[in-house]
Amino acid sequence: MKRNTYIYQAFERFWHWSQAALILFLMLTGFEMHGNYQLLGFEAAVLWHNLASIALIVLIIFAIFWHFVTGEWRQYIPTTRFIKAQAAYYLTGIFKGAPHPTHKTVYTKFNPLQRLIYLGLKTVIFPAQIITGLIYLSFLYPSDIIQVESHGTIAIIHTFVAFLFIAFVIAHIYLTTTGEAPLTSIKAMITGWESVDVDPEQFQKEHSAQAVKDSSAGYYRLNIDGIIEDVNDAWLKMYRTDQAEHYLGKPVSITRCPTEQAQLQNIINQVFKGNSVSGLKVTRLCFDGSKGEHVLTANPIIDGDSIVGMEGFIIDLSNPNQPS
C-alpha cells in the first residue's frame, strides 16, 4: 500500500541540494584550476574553490550532526539482503518492467546498493577529498602545526578523487530516473513528499487517531467516575475555551446547568449499563457561562469484560460563530 509521505525533512533537502550545488561548483572551479578550460579565470576559480570547500565542510559538519541526532545514520548501515536482487533488477529486471525488489519506506529510504554506495561515499571518498584538500590548503597557508614539503602527490590524489566524483554524479543523476516515473525521485527531493510503501494496519490506526483529532465534531472521554479524561479541539471550541486544563480531570457535571444535571446523570447511567445513546439533543453550559445546544452520542468503553468509561461525539446546533 502506497501513500504520499513526507519522506525527506527540510534540513535533509537543504543539505542534499546545497551539497549537490557545492560539489558541481567545486568540480567546475577545480578542473579550471587543473587547466582543463578557462571559465571564471584562474584567480576567481581559486577563490571560489576555496570558499566553496569551506562551505562544504561546514555543511557536512551540520549533516553529520543531523544524522546522529535524528538517527538517520542507520539508513546507511549496509546489508547484504536483496543486494543481488537489486543488482539483478538494474541489470535485467528494469528492462522487463519488473517491480522494484525492495520497497522504499520512511525507515528504509535506500535500497541495498544505495546504502553501500552512499556509505562508501561518506566514509572514503568525501574524507579523502576533504583531507587532501585541507593538506593542500595548509601548504598554501603554512602554519607551525602542519608543514607540507611538497604538494604534488596530494594534488594528484585530490584530482583523481574528483574524477570519481564526476562518475558518481553521472550515475546518481541517471538512477533518479529509475523511480516510479522519471522525475518522481527528483520531485521528492525538492518537496520532501513521495508516494512510498506504508503498513496498512499502522496507517489505519494513525489515520483514525488523526481523524478524531482533526474532526469538527467534538470528542470526549470520561472514566468510570465521570471524570473528563480527553477532549478534542472541536469540543473545547464548543465550550468556548482553548484551554483543555479547564476540563481535563474535572467531573463531567461542570458541563451542565443545575437544571440539566438529572438528564446528564441519566445518560451516564444508561451507558454504564452497557447501552449506547445517539442523536440526543442537550443544552451545555459553556466555560464563559453562556449556553449552547448540541446533539450527542455516547457509548461505553469496554476493557475486557468490564466497562471502564464512556466516550462519544457532540455536534453543535447553536454556535452562532459557525461556519468559520
Partner: protein
C-alpha cells in the same frame, strides 16, 4: 477545497524557502569574492617607507676655492677633498672604486673577484683592455694593471655629482674626459668647464648613474635590458617608479647611500647575499588584497609578476656570436650590418648579435647567492657554460622565483687547456683584435695579461649569463595574471622541479579518471537506450 489550497500553498512556501536557503550562501560568496578581487581597481599603494626628501646642500658656487681655473680633473678632486677631507677614504672602500669584492670559490678559498678580473660574455674581460673599459671607472687613468688604487686625487668626483650634463668621460680615455674636442661613434666630446661644473655639483641624478649603468656592454640597454637611457623620461607604462607621471623617483631613492656606499648590488656580479635591496624596502610584506597573492611572496619575488617584460623602449642584446667576428669588406674596411630598428646585427669587431624588445623574462630559482666563472676554471666544450649560475631550487626554502634576462654568447676559449681566454681586444698595439682581427695574437696577449698560458688553439664555446630583472616595474593592471604561470604552456614551463597547479598533472591518472567518466557515460547511455526500447516493446505487446 480550502484545506487543499492551504496545503499546496504551504508546500510552495517550503520549497521557496529551501530555494532561498540554497541561494543565500552563493550571494554572500559573490560579494566576498568581488570585494577581494581588487586587482584592477585603483587602491593606494601602502608604503612602509616614504621616499626621502632632498636636502638643499650648500651653494658651492660661493666657495672661493672653486673660483679657480682648473687645468686637470685631478685638481678638481683636490679641491673637493680640501673640504671633504675624509670622503676619499669612504669612496675607496666602495666597489665603484675597487671593482672587486670578496668571493668564496667552490673549494672554499676567498679571493678578490669583481669587474677588475671577472669574465662576462659580452666584451669578456677588462684585463689588457683597460683604457676602453675603465671609462666607466670612477677614477682617472686606469689604463693598465699599474693603476694605483690608493691615490686619492685619481678619484673622479664629478661623474657622479655633475648637475650640468656637460661632464663626460671619453669612451677610450681610461676614465679621463677629453682635453681637446674629439669624436667617438658620432658623438662629440668637449673639454669640460671644470669651474662651472664644480660650482654646481649635487646629489647623483638618473643621468649620473645612467652615464655608465645604462650603457654597459658598449651601448644603450645592451647588458641589463631593464635599465636604459630612456628611463630619464618615461611613462608609467614603462616604469612606475621612475616615470614622470608615476612616482618620479631617481636611482638613489631606492639605492640609498651612506658614506658613498651605494646599496643594492646586482646578483650577476655580486656573489654574496649582502647589500641587496628589494621591493620590501618601501613596500609592505602583504601588499595584496587577495591573501593568496601575499602567500606567493614566500617563494616568488615581486619582480616575477610585476615585470612582465623588459626592454620596453629600446632593444637589448640577447645573443652575441664572437666566432663570426673579423670578416672584412674586400677593401679592408669593416662590415657593419643593422636591422630595420637600427640595431647593429653584425660588426667586424664583434661578430653577430641578436636584439629583442619587450622581452618576456626567463625565470630561475634564486637564494641570493651566485657562483661565477673564475679565470682558469675548466670548461666543458660540449656543454653550455653558465658564467654565473644562480643558486637555488624549489627544495631550498630560501629560494624564490625571479625573472632574469639570459644573454647567450659564443665566446673564445683555449681548446687544449679547456679554459676561457680573456682576449686582448682594445688597443693600438700589434696584438689587439679590434685593430688586427687575429684571434691568435689577441688570445695570446690576453691570456698572458691574466697569467694564463695559451696553447695556440682557440675555439668558441656556448655560454650564458644571467641578469636578474629588477627595473621597469609595470603598472598594477599589467602585472601577470595567475594563468600566465599556472598553465602548461605558461611562463614557468621550464622551471619544473616542483608541482605547479594548472601546469602539472599526472598524465596516467588523468587518463584513468577520464576513462572512468567515459565508461559511466557509456554505461548510462546504453542502459537508458535499452530501457526506452524495452518499454516501447512492452507497450506494443500490450
Amino acid at each position: 477545497m480550502n484545506l487543499f489550497k492551504n496545503q499546496s500553498t504551504a508546500r510552495f512556501w517550503s520549497v521557496l524557502g529551501l530555494f532561498a536557503a540554497l541561494l543565500l550562501p552563493w550571494i554572500l560568496g559573490y560579494y566576498y569574492i568581488q570585494n577581494i578581487r581588487l586587482n584592477n581597481k585603483a587602491k593606494e599603494v601602502t608604503l612602509i617607507r616614504e621616499p626621502s626628501q632632498k636636502k638643499q646642500g650648500p651653494d658651492h658656487s660661493q666657495y672661493s676655492l672653486l673660483q679657480q681655473e682648473f687645468e686637470t680633473p685631478e685638481q678638481v678632486t683636490e679641491a673637493c677633498l680640501y673640504c671633504h677631507n675624509t670622503t676619499a677614504q669612504e669612496v675607496m672602500q666602495t666597489s665603484h672604486w675597487t671593482w672587486s669584492r670578496e668571493y668564496v670559490t667552490e673549494n672554499g678559498d676567498t679571493i678578490q673577484l669583481g669587474k677588475k678580473n671577472i669574465l662576462n660574455n659580452f666584451c669578456i674581460g677588462i684585463q689588457s683592455n683597460e683604457p676602453r673599459c675603465t671609462s666607466c671607472h670612477i677614477g682617472y687613468g686606469w689604463k693598465d694593471d699599474g693603476f694605483d688604487f690608493s691615490e686619492e686625487r685619481k678619484i673622479d668626483c664629478l661623474v657622479c655629482h655633475d648637475q650640468t650634463d656637460t661632464y663626460k668621460k671619453f669612451p677610450s680615455g681610461a676614465g679621463y674626459p677629453v682635453t681637446e674636442k674629439k669624436t667617438s661613434a658620432g658623438e662629440e666630446f668637449m673639454p669640460p668647464d671644470y669651474r662651472h661644473i664644480a660650482q654646481n655639483i649635487g646629489s647623483p641624478r638618473i643621468e649620473n648613474c645612467g652615464a655608465c649603468h645604462f650603457v654597459g656592454g658598449g651601448g644603450n640597454n645592451v647588458k641589463h635590458g631593464d635599465i636604459a637611457t630612456e628611463l630619464k623620461e618615461v611613462t608609467r607604462e614603462v616604469d612606475v617608479h621612475m616615470a614622470s607621471d608615476g612616482a618620479g623617483m631617481s636611482c638613489v631613492d631606492c639605492h640609498r647611500t651612506e658614506e658613498h656606499a651605494i646599496s643594492g648590488s646586482l646578483y650577476s656580479i655580486a656573489s654574496q647575499d649582502t647589500n641587496r635591496i628589494g621591493c620590501s624596502g618601501c613596500h609592505s610584506a602583504n601588499p595584496h588584497a587577495n591573501e593568496i597573492l601575499n602567500l606567493h611572496s614566500a617563494r616568488v619575488d615581486c619582480q616575477t609578476c610585476h615585470i612582465p617584460e623588459y626592454a620596453k623602449v629600446s632593444a637589448t642584446k640577447m645573443s652575441w656570436d664572437w666566432s663570426t667576428a673579423g670578416k672584412l669588406n674586400p677593401d679592408g674596411s669593416m662590415v657593419v650590418k643593422k636591422d630595420s630598428m637600427g640595431n647593429i646585427i653584425y660588426h667586424s669587431m664583434k661578430g653577430d648579435f641578436t636584439w629583442a624588445k619587450n622581452v618576456e623574462p626567463e625565470y630561475r630559482w634564486f637564494n641570493g647567492i651566485a657562483d661565477h666563472y673564475v679565470l682558469g676554471d675548466p670548461v666543458n666544450p660540449n656543454e653550455t657554460l653558465n658564467m654565473n649560475p644562480l643558486q637555488g631550487s624549489y627544495a631550498d626554502k630560501r629560494s624564490k622565483i625571479i625573472p632574469v634576462k639570459v644573454h647567450r654568447a659564443n665566446i673564445i676559449y683555449d681548446v687544449q687547456n679547456e679554459y676561457l681566454i680573456n682576449p686582448h681586444l682594445f688597443g693600438k698595439d700589434s696584438t689587439a683584435f679590434w685593430t688586427h682581427f687575429d684571434w691568435h695574437k689577441a688570445a695570446k696577449a690576453g691570456a698572458e695579461a691574466t697569467g694564463l698560458a695559451y696553447s695556440g688553439e682557440y675555439g668558441f664555446i656556448a655560454s650564458e649569463m644571467t641578469w636578474p630583472i629588477n627595473h621597469m616595474v609595470a603598472p598594477r593592471e599589467q602585472s601577470l595574471t595567475c594563468i600566465e604561470c599556472h598553465d602548461s604552456n605558461g611562463r614557468l614551463s621550464e622551471l619544473n622541479d616542483f608541482y605547479l597547479i594548472g601546469r602539472d598533472r599526472h598524465a596516467m591518472l588523468d587518463r584513468i579518471g577520464i576513462g572512468i567518466i567515459l565508461l559511466s557515460l557509456i554505461g548510462v547511455t546504453i542502459h537508458s537506450i535499452i530501457r526506452i526500447l524495452s518499454k516501447s516493446n512492452r507497450s506494443q505487446t500490450k
